[in-house]
Each structure stands twice: as C-alpha cells, then as structure tokens.
Subunit: 193 residues, 2 copies
C-alpha cells in the first residue's frame, strides 16, 4: 500500500474549521434561550459568510441537530474512555442533561418529539452506559434492581429540578448514593410497594 | 353555654353530601385527561342539578382548585397522623404527585402558574413534612444534607418519570434508599462536585 498523504491527525481542513467555528458559536448562543440569536448573528460571530453557514447547516433545525448529536457523541465517548466508571460518568451525564435542555427544547419546537435524532440519541446513550452499569453491578458497587434506562431516567429527572447548583447538588448526591449497593442494605427497612 | 344542637359528627347536611358527590365524580372524571368530561356530564353523573353544581363550583377552575386543595389536605393530614414516619409519608407523597398531575396540569391551563392555590399547596406540604424529616434526621435514619424542599423536589421528579408502576418503583426505591443515612456511608466513595 502506498503511504498516505502526510497529514497530521490534528490538522483540519478549512471546511472542518468553519464547521467547528459555527458549532462553537451556536453552542454558546443557544445556551441562553432568551437571547434568540438569529442565523445572521451566528454567521457574524463565527466570522463566516451566510453562504458558508447555510452550506453547512441549511437551517436552524440542522444546526440544533448537529449540536445535539455532538453532545451525544461526547457523552458516549466519555463512557468508553479508559478508566471510565459509572459514578464519574453519571456526573457527566447529569451535566449533559442539564446543559442540553435548551437545545433539546428548541429542537422540539422545530421537529416535534418524533424527531429520530432524539430517539437515536437516547439509544446511543443507553448502549454506551450499559457496560458501565454492568461492570459496577458485577463489582457489587451498584444495586442490581435497576436497568440503564431506569438509571438514565433518574438522573434526567434530577436534572430537571429547578434551582442553582448548590441546591441541586445534594439531590443528585442522594440519587447517586441510592444507586450504591450500600444504599440498599442496613438495619433500617423502608416499606416496599 | 347551652348545649349545642345534638348532631353526630359523621352526619352530613344535604349541601355537604352534594358537594362530596360532585367532588367524587370529578376526581374520577379528571383522572383521565383524554376523556374531557364536561360540567354537564359531571352534574349528570353526580345526580345533582346544574344549579347545585354551579352553586358549589361556579366554574371548572373552582372545581379543579377544590380537588387540588382536597388532595393537599389529605397529604398534610397523613403527615400529622399518629405514627406517621418520613418513609411511609414519602410513599404517600409519591402517589399524591403521580395522581394529581392531571388535575394540576388542567388547572394550569385555566390559571397559569401564578395561581395562589399552587404556591399555597406547596407551602402547606413543606410545613407538614418538615417535622417528619427533622425527626428522621434526629434519629439518624435520614441524611442531614437535604432540606424538606429538596426531598419534595426529588420525589416529585421521580413521579414525573414515564412508565408503569413496575418500571418506576425501583427508581423510587433508589431515591428513598439514597435518603437513608446508610446511603451516605460505606467504603465506596462517589465523586462529589
């Protein structure tokens, strides 16, 4: 096989750089839903022309989908990183849920809940988290009466609680402690349904 | 002081009976939001005339508010019942949150979130639950880094998770186990923010 064209893995083409610039600007802009930043404003802040912006993202919906997909990619990559543990990943997942709420909400306005981007994102996060949960359950660190779907729903529910970080942090801690095997044991019995 | 008119405490006047009949019918009717039961249908099912219905509840909003208040009354009374414990009360609270969602959602449509019935209901539940949490924390059964507001928000968040009872029950158990003091201890340390 001939050697491939010499190219650093970190070297990016102009097209890739433009796409990244647009996404970085859009991520910041959409973090504040009250700002209602227009496509023209995103083009201006990213320093790319409208033609370049629309060539990459034909509309606001495509931009939102790309941001959403990028965040799902990141959370899946975190689950597969060397040394990843369920406990550290669930903290990242919480931050992911909390941060993507605005993007998900605006995407919903454009597409409705039937958007395959949503369902596909969930399925990918489930697939990425499942081995971490299984490993923690095998190690008897995590209770074995919950599935990855139930764990995701619990963390997501906590992420929807309103309040600043200092208010929500003990609630998240409570949920995470409940997932520990120790949380199921002890001499004090809670009534079960 | 002259003795009061002899009257059993369980004897109800016609007016009270009519009000109860209407509320019982409305509670069932509103449990299924898809049914969209009209005031005329409630009058028919309760076996009272429209004049009686409207004398008790001038509109749908007043009926919804009465149902909501009645459920708040019940959950507050449960907290103050002899032998009440935080653990058993939180199970009741979960059922309360799960069951009042339709009523609360429809009431929101009529009044907006500024409705004093909502804020007042929350304040009353907080006041009723606070002594139970304090007692459980004094007994070192429940972790002491959460307030009654945080406990309510956690249980409410779990109650919003979609799924049948067998799906949600282990999630509720996880949250309740996390509230136990045992849930905070053990040799396995979760990362803290």
């Amino acid at each position: 096989m001939p050697p491939s064209q010499p190219r650093s893995p970190t070297r990016r083409t102009d097209a890739e750089r433009n796409r990244d610039k647009i996404l970085n600007v859009a991520r910041t802009a959409f973090a504040d839903p009250a700002a209602e930043v227009s496509m023209a404003e995103i083009s201006r802040r990213a320093g790319v022309g409208m033609a370049t912006l629309y060539r990459n993202f034909p509309g606001r919906r495509e931009l939102l989908e790309a941001l959403y997909t990028e965040e799902v990619d990141a959370i899946c990559a975190a689950a597969r990183a060397p040394g990843a543990s369920l406990s550290s990943w669930l903290h990242q997942l919480f931050a992911f849920f909390a941060s993507k709420q605005h993007i998900a909400a605006e995407l919903l306005k454009h597409t409705g809940s039937g958007d395959p981007v949503f369902g596909g994102g969930r399925a990918r996060v489930v697939a990425a988290g499942q081995p971490l949960l299984a490993a923690a359950q095998r190690a008897r660190e995590t209770r074995d009466d919950v599935t990855i779907d139930q764990v995701l729903d619990l963390i997501h529910a906590v992420a929807t609680i309103e309040g600043d970080a200092s208010y929500v942090a003990p609630i998240l801690r409570t949920a995470l402690d409940g997932l520990r095997v120790g949380g199921q044991q002890g001499d004090f019995t809670w009534p079960r349904e």
